[in-house]
Structures are given as C-alpha cells and as structure tokens.
Amino acid sequence: MVLFAGCSQQNNDIETNFAISQAPLNLDPRYATDAASERVNRLIYQPLVDFDAASKPVPALANWALISSTQYQFTLQPNRAKFHHQAALTALDVKETYDSILRLKDSPHSAEFANIKKITLINKESILFELKQADNHFPSKLIIGILPADLLANNHDFSQHPIGSGALKFVDWDSKLVLERVKDSHIINLTEIKDPTVRVLKLLRGEVDLIQGDLPPELVKHLQNQPEINVKTTVGANFSYLGLNMQDATLQNIKVRQAIAYAIDREAIIRHVMVQNTLIASAILPPKHYTNMSNNQLKPYEYNPEKAKQLLHEAGIKLPLKLIYKTSTDAQRLRFAAILQAQMAKAGIDLQIKSLDWGTFFADVKKGNFQLFGLTWVGIKTPEIYAKAFGSSSFPPNGFNRGRYTDKALDSLLAKEDWPAATARIHQQLPYIPLWYEGQFAAMGKDTSNYAPKADGNWDDLAIITKSATKRSATIMHYAN
C-alpha cells in the first residue's frame, strides 16, 4: 500500500482545490461587500481601473483623460477580452453598469458614485463621466467590475450566476464554487471550510491544494515544517488599530492617548503571536503607499510603560486608570485582548475586556458606544480614508469617524490633500492607536506553483496558478499509515 501510494499518477483533468474560511455571499459586484466576494469578483469581472504596487490608480480595462475639472473620458483598451457569454465588451456595457448602480437604491456602493452627474456614450470605445463637483480621486473609484449590457437589460441574477470578462468564468455554485480559467480551462474549486484545523488537515492529506490566511500563527509554523507543503508569506497592508472614543472625558486628554500608545509592546506581540512579515504600523496606509513615499516614515511609539505611567500622572489620572475595551468573540482577537490587558497593567491601566458577538460589537462601534475597540481596515487603497475616518464631517452614517474626532487643523490639511502632514498630525494626535499590518501567507502543496499571497489578501494569482499532473504522495502515505 505504501509503495502504491508512493507511485506518481497522471492527472489528466487538473483541478486546483482552494479551501477558504468564508464563502462569498454575493457575486454581483454592485452589491458585494464581503472580502471573499470582492476577491472572487476581481477574477470574474474586469474593472476600468486598478491599483499598482504603490496603490496608485492605473488603467485596467480603460485609459482615462481629464477633459475638464468635472469631466473624465475613459477609452477602452484595444485588446480587451470578450464577456464569458461571447458578447464583445463595449463602452455601452460600461455606461449600463454604472447607470444601473446609480439607479439601484439598495446598492452599498451607490453613495460612492453620488457625485456622477451624467454618463455619456461617445462611441463604442469611449465614454464620458460628468461630475457634479471636481474630484481628483474619481478614477480610483471606478473599480467595480463591468457587467454585460444585454444581461443587465434582462435583469440577470449576477449574484448567483456571474458573467464577466475576467480571467475566470463561472461554472457552478452548489456546495463549492467552481470557476474555469478562460485561457486553458483549468478548473478552480473554492470550498468553504470554516475550521482552521480541518483546513490544515485537508491540505496535509492532499484533499486541498491551497489555503490562504485565517490561521493561527502556530499552525502556519506547523505547515512550514511539513516537507510536502510550501508556505509563502509577504508583508501585509491591512491596518490593525485600537479605536478611541474622543467624546470620552478621559480619552480626550492627549497624554492619556499617548500613555496607551506607549503601554503596548507591539514588537513582542508580533514576535510571538503573529504570522511572519507582520510589521509595526504608524498610519492606516502602509509605508509602500504612494502617500508615504516622501514622509521619511513616522516613528512608531515604542514600548515604555514607565513613560506611560508618567504621562498618566501628568494628565492628573489616579492609577489604575480603568478603561473598557470592546472586541468580538474571535479567538485571535481575544488573545490580543488578553495580551494588551497584561501589558497595559504594567503602565497602570486596568483594561477591562468586553467581548461581544460580531453584530452587537459592530453596532456599538458605529453608535460610538465604546471607550476602546479593536478592528482592522482591510483593502484600503486611497488616501481619502483619512477624511472618512477622521474628518469632522464624517461621523457615522456619513463616514467612518466612529470615535467622533474633531480637529480643525487636520480638516484643513485633509482639504489641501497634504497627506504627509495629515498623516503626521494623526500620528501625533492619536485618534487611533496604530498596531500593525498583519503579514499575509498562503500554503500550498509542492505540486502547486505560480501562486503568491498579496499584501491586501486578494486571490489574483488564481488566474495564473499551476498544478503539476503528478500527485503529492508523501503526506498521504504518512497519514495512510
């Protein structure tokens, strides 16, 4: 049996099995908001604009030209792919896609395009967007996948049967989502397996070829020690932070906020309980973002509990300072909470942890019903996030300023789009306590190649992933015995 299992087998119909922790919820790009749906939609559809490594908007399906301060003309690339149902992709499809988003009242993306006054078809290749007000960042908003106009007219259900012009086309979605690569008919199966241990076991047994993210770091290290498994890691861009309620009398004092920043030993947390390539953060946008290039990098707050205590004394706080920290019931989040509590205790801060189910927790965060909370910004590319997260006019539901932070000096810097100065001001004023950018990783069988994790955790390399026809055997033998 061992010998038999050790033999190589020819696999004529090669498939890649990708185990994911959360299945997509909606494959219509006009409605999708969850990370899994957005990652799959990037592969099924093509947007007009994408981002480069420094998160600058770059042409994808179309080039653009600024006609006037409120007019953008987009011209489609000449050698673009057809839709998966073989219709040609034209400027009419672009117009119908964005017109439909503007018409939809229940699309979570409608508000993003509220500034569009009119969309005019110039010809089959070009389209003109007229805006109500000038917006320098308008092209970076056009990242919604383009849908075919003929199917839009027929009210096609894209959420369950997506048809786009991307590298992968939809085949079936029952217990697993089946996609087929257009160029070589390679099949990719996405199966939801929520439990991290089961995902790892299936990878080790060869039932799954690829897993990415959502594993405790100890399991990642375990996989790195397996001869049949290849683990690739890269620096991440998703920003983890502690949010502060700036309407809380204690937290309004900048010395208290600084004390909290000095009370956290980020290096120790990263070294012991984070995956490889996790970096200490100083701002929402990572160091490689184009807005940070000229900033000479902000210096992170070091771990200094004595300095934290001193700042609390200067702020007139009687120790221990009691603060309530709200978090979700996610095991890794609770792990961080316990560490933060132990570290802050050394600085005279009595952090009381309140874990809530996700719905209650997030509702509390949006309502401003918290002192401190922990969250992560995922997939942020544009510097407009600073205005949305810290602008005085961005209190929910108009933005994400959940801590209700108001700072006229910052508002003025944001209005001028002086990103280095605005980032420095935020770093100094600390409406958020920055923590880290969590490293990204993907683990795959040795027979799987051409796949690497990306900083924002997208699955773009499924468009080029390859799998050799020779099946993995060593681990299967090991478990068979």
Binding site: T197, H222, T329, A331, A338, A342, K354, S355, D357, T360
Partner: protein
C-alpha cells in the same frame, strides 16, 4: 461505581484546595512559553499565551462549581415555589403557571440561554442570569406533580382542617416530603449547568477574558489540536471526568433515596 464517582469528586475538591496553597496564577502570561508541552515547570503544559494550564484548570473548576451551585440554588427556589403554588391551588393558577412553564420548556434550554447571553452580553453575572432563566422549569414540573399527589394526603387535609395557613402547610407538610427527590434533581442539574456554562464560554458568551473557564479553554485548545494536543486533552478529560462523577453521584443518590430500589 459509587466509589469511582466519590473518588473523582474528592480528587477535584482536593485539587482546588491544594492548588490554592501553591498560589498558582492562572492569568500570568509568558509569551516565551507559548504552548509548551508538559514539563517540570508546567506540569500540564501552557496555553496559547504561555499561561499555566494546571493553574487555569484549577481556576476553571472553581468558576464551574460556583456557577453550578448558584444557578442550581436560584432555579430550585424559583421552580419549587412555582410548582408548589401550581400543585396546591390547582385550577386557573395551575393552568396559567404550567402554560408559562410549557412555553419555556418548548425552547431548547441551551439555545434560549445563548440568546439571553447574546442580548445581555458576556460576563459572569449575565451568564448566571441566562442559565437561571431557563433552569427553573424542570423543578417547577417536578414539584407541581409531587404536590398534586401530596395535596390530598390525610396529614395535609388535617392541617387544613385545623386552620393552618397555606405557607405553613406548604413549608411544614409538603416541602419536607419533596426533599429527597429535589436533591436528586439538583445533582443532575449541577452537571447540566456545568455543561451549559462550558458551552456558553466555548461560544465566547460566558466568562470573560482573561478569567479561566473550561469552555473557553476547550475552544482555544481545539484551535491548537495539531500542534499542542495536550491542551485540549487536559481540559476535555477534566470536564468529562467531573461531569461523569457528578452524574454518577446523582445516580447513587437516587438509588439510595428511592425506597423502591432499596434491597
């Protein structure tokens, strides 16, 4: 079997007492010793934050006993009162009280407790409240049934004829006869409350971080089953042995107090 149950219970009680003498700190984090296997420094290894599993198991059993005893006492008082009044007065009072009981019985107890814990928020007091809200039903049913049969006994009728007040009849003439059956029910209730507490903590709706709870430890242990199996095994075996011992103890008590099974 009786000896087995008693010896396990004695073992856990002794473990708690002896553990206190060693002043073990269940919340002492040591990031350099994360998921350390069983060794001379840590007799049962360490958890995902480098905390001593032995210290946390001992702290966990204290929480488990505390919650189980408090919830059992509260639910017993509520359930017995409702059962006594329903069984004694009968008629509309009985119908209304038993309809309310039936409504609570219709929901799976643990599901209702999860819903209440989610609404009230996590924490020890809310956990006790959530378990109390669902736990009184079995006592009410049991007491009501027994009271219905005791209601027409001659000593109760005699007491009524002599002008004894209702509370006096209930407390002096009916309740003492329910003692043994309620005691057996209470032992089973202890075990089920321990499991319910562990289940809610497993779901993150029970005892709050960093306090030790076997349910929360099981949840964490399952995540590291591949790399540190000792963690989940120690907690799982502890919980299993304690619940088994309490249930077996209940069986022994029932056999002892049930005159029909007396040899």
């Amino acid at each position: 079997m009786k000896k087995f149950a008693i010896s396990i219970l004695v073992f856990w009680v002794l473990a708690v007492i002896v553990g206190k003498l060693f002043h073990l700190d269940p919340n002492q984090i040591d990031l350099n010793s994360i998921l350390a296997p069983i060794n001379t420094d840590y007799w049962l290894g360490t958890d995902d934050l480098g905390r001593d599993i032995l210290a946390r198991v001992l702290a966990g059993i204290q929480v488990s006993f505390f919650v189980a005893i408090i919830v059992t006492l509260i639910t017993m008082v509520i359930g017995v009162l409702i059962g006594l009044f329903a069984g004694f007065y009968g008629g509309k009072v009985d119908a209304i009280l038993m309809k309310i009981t039936d409504i609570f019985l219709a929901f799976p107890g643990i599901l209702l407790a999860i819903a209440f814990a989610a609404v009230l928020g996590a924490g020890l007091s809310n956990l006790i409240l959530a378990l109390c809200i669902t736990g009184w039903v079995s006592y009410a049913r049991l007491t009501r049934g027994q009271t219905l049969s005791l209601r027409n006994r001659q000593h109760v009728i005699a007491a009524e004829s002599l002008g004894a007040s209702v509370p006096r009849i209930l407390i002096k003439h009916i309740l003492p006869l329910l003692g043994s059956i309620l005691m057996v029910e209470a032992t089973y209730s202890l075990a089920s409350v321990m499991i319910a507490e562990a289940s809610l903590s497993f779901l993150g709706l029970g005892i709050q971080v960093p306090n030790a709870s076997w349910g929360a430890m099981l949840r964490d242990g399952v995540r590291y089953m591949l790399v540190a199996p000792h963690y989940v095994l120690v907690v799982g075996l502890s919980l299993m042995s304690l619940i088994l011992a309490v249930n077996l103890g209940g069986d022994c008590l029932r056999d002892k107090l049930d005159v029909r099974s007396e040899k």
